[in-house]
Amino acid sequence: MSERNNIFNEIDWKLVVLYLLLVLMGWINIYAAVYNEDHRSIIDLSQSYGRQMIWIITSLFLGLVVLLTDARFFSTFAYLIYGFVIVLLLAVLAFGTEISGSKSWFQIGSFAIQPAEFGKFATNLALARFFSGQQLNIKSFRTRFIPLLIIGLPALLIQLQNDTGSALVYSAFLLVLYRMGLSGNFLLAGVMFVVLALSTLMVGYLYVIPVLVVLAGLLLFFIRRNRRNIINLLALLMLGIGFIYSVDYVVDNFLGAHQKTRIHVLLGKELDLKGAGYNVNQSKIAIGSGGFGGKGFLNGTQTKYNFVPEQSTDFIFCTVGEEWGFIGSTVVIVLFILLLSRIVMVAERQRSDFGKIYGYGVASILFFHFAVNIGMTIGLMPVIGIPLPFFSYGGSSLWSFTILLFIFIKQDIRRNAIL
């Protein structure tokens, strides 16, 4: 039997169908978001929606190429691909073009390509390769340090391009590490630190530190008061206080003015409706005005008046919320949860560690994008400019998400070949 028949017999159609649904819904919503009465055709190439069609077609082609490539190619060349993307990230720092504040683009003619987008699957490949490579001693320093290096290097380079949003995406790999045996305490600690950071920013460290000390004192009554526990608790308390101070210090000294305002606006400390808060407020108006059933296709008034900025890219979910209402928003969210869960389940059935870890990486990255992007449009997350996977307008992101997903689908097709 030829390999081609194999592909279509063994491919996980649920993943493919979910992918196609999201891409098509994205395209329709981009059309509605930037609808231009002079160019009514959805395939008009002078408009974003026409160009998105090109991106979709090329993405499908890329997906097919990935499916036709030997699955072992990706694990074999994982480090090479990773190295190549690191070189690209270095190159863009030196020769890139600055678009809206981030020096993260290569401008080729009228098209712009963002290497950071391709860092995601490259990092994921390298991480999967590392964990699947040999018998690893989970306790060794090397096993703990190298993954952090693999994740941290691209994140650092992207941060240097002044693209904080894309750099933060790499924190999603925490979920992969969790699945690989990282203590759940780290996830809890992560949540704790976020809570501490937010409360420090909201009420100031002068209030948070005493509260923390009192909490630590109370905790002392509930634990066994042996020497080791007391030392650990004190160490944690010191760590917490140090963290609170550093949050304050970093925000005051290192963050740019616009990042600071965005944080303040999210926390409700500042009502800056004409500046940073404008996007979120307009986005909430657009989504909120959709009601239960939405205003209908192309009837979103917020769209017509261009109230919401970046409506075809980062704020594409507004169009969904406004024109398709609660029903449409629910459909999109459910589709994403189905996709993410399906990826996790398919990952679990992999026989190779590489496929499994890679799958978790895919789910983590998509989840992070999904949670942050939709979270910011409904005012639950700070405004971090990252796209909604498969939905947002843009060639680089659609290509990279497609490659990311299809490498995984390809690994899955091949799982039975591994004994």
């Binding site: 993410l340 389940m345 789910a363 409904i378």
Partner: protein, 600 residues
Amino acid sequence: MANKSLASRKQNVIAIFVVVGFIYLVRLFYLQIIDDSYELSANNNVLRHIIQYPARGLIYDRNGKLLVYNEAVYDLMVLPHQVRDIDTLEFCRLLEITPEGFRQRLIKARNYSLYKPSLFEKQLSKETYGYLEEKMYRFRGFFVQSRTLRKYPSPIGAHLFGYVGEVNQTIIDKNPYYKSGDYIGISGIEKTYEEVLRGKKGKKIKMVDVHNREVGSFQDGIYDTVAEMGKDLYLTIDADLQEYGERLMQGKMGSIVAIEPATGEILTFLSSPAYDPNLLVGRVRGKNFGSLVKDPVKPLLNRALMGQYPPGSTFKMVNDLIGLKEGVLTTSTLYSCQGPGSSPIRCTHNHQSPLNVYTAIQQSCNPFHWLVYRSILNNPRHKGTRENYVIWRDYVMQMGFGHKLGADTDSELPGNLPPAETYDAIYGKGRWSAMTIRSLSIGQGEILVTPLQLANYGALLANRGHYIVPHVVKQIGDIPTGENRFKKVTGEISPASYEIIVEGMRQVATLGTARWFQIKDITMCGKTGTAENPHGKDHSLFMAFAPADNPVIAIAVVVENAGFGSTWALPIASLMIEKYINGEVSRKQIEEDMMNKRLF
């Protein structure tokens, strides 16, 4: 290396996904279904974006007298996607338009945009507006937007101010500030100072109820921006003098430009025939513009900047100055004049002979100036006629001729002062001499000047050798601009040479061609010109400044096809000077003669 016991973490990961998804759905449920404030504020019919058009800046004269202000008018706008259930017939009756006109306007608006407001009927009369306002609730999709139009308390300065009109597509494509229906300065200072005068547009978002009534500002007006009124302009123009000049020029074609020599400030700037600037405002503009365009005396032509005339005898001092500078003329140089029998250029006056430079200016002697000019072009210090001509032309350019002066007015023309190449082309290289181009000695031939250049020349003589680029705006808003904005131009010829020429010009007014129009207690220095004109009767020119020793005004007057300089331009200029310096005119007879005589 996947540990079996870690496999249970699959559930935890999926649980995280589901919990986040659930939280988002709850939030969406709250935003979209429970909290209806968002829905209200974005409801399809609720918001109306109204552009707040700022009033253009006002224009005052040099003494703070208001010359241009604004009057409110009302434009009827339409939002095509909201138009429904309208009693078209009643609507048409109110607006006095036909149902066919109604249909066409609506189609035009729809073609522009269904969702953006379009202009339906501009500048409603106050009565129509009042009546419409009452019934507005019955006409869904229509609303009224207030605009301002220019208004001129006295009908003067039409060419100076220019006019304001609606932007066309070319302007919209070029400059993103302008949107369809905006106004822009089309000519005059309305054009040159457009960016200062226009101010900044604002925006108001109003909520409108289902009956098309405005019920308040959207979200208490936090998205509204206030329109900023344009900055006021304070002109250098003296409105009284301007008006007096326009009255003197009634029925005559030509121009008067007067400049304060020390500052380059233009005191009077007029082109005749003029028109009432109120004619080119609002709904009547199209019709009036059409008839002004067709008028054979060309009232729309700004003769002060675009009329180009041979300077005639007013140009003779230019040659004297260059002769003095080049050393071919001194105060003791004498040339003889054979009167009407002179060759190659005849003299038109009877006077003594031989004569010196003072008398030559005083008597406007043609042969004397021809001989000065010939000695400049044949000057043995340089190589040949051509090189001498190039040097001569340079000096003339330094006096403000042959190029645009750079005034802050619209559409200035450069006049004409041919480069040597032009004569090479006409006569062949090396085949022309002083004799060939002798007309230039008396300001005839190819040379052409604008009234502005002629007045500037007066200021140059008054200042004994320099001029400030002439301008009409003294101050923008509260900030004085004047002196630094316009540069001082100083030629190579020394003030001492100018004193000699000025003495000649003084004698023009006391003993020479202008002696019949002396002003009591004021010494005027001037020069008449009678410019031959191939198309008809000679143009009458006069250029002067006064008082001789402490000049406060330099003036040029051109009256087209009127004959001698001393019969038309001279008396008008002398009246203007008297009016400006003394505040009133004592020579009533001359004043009456000039005002009442009509040449067309």
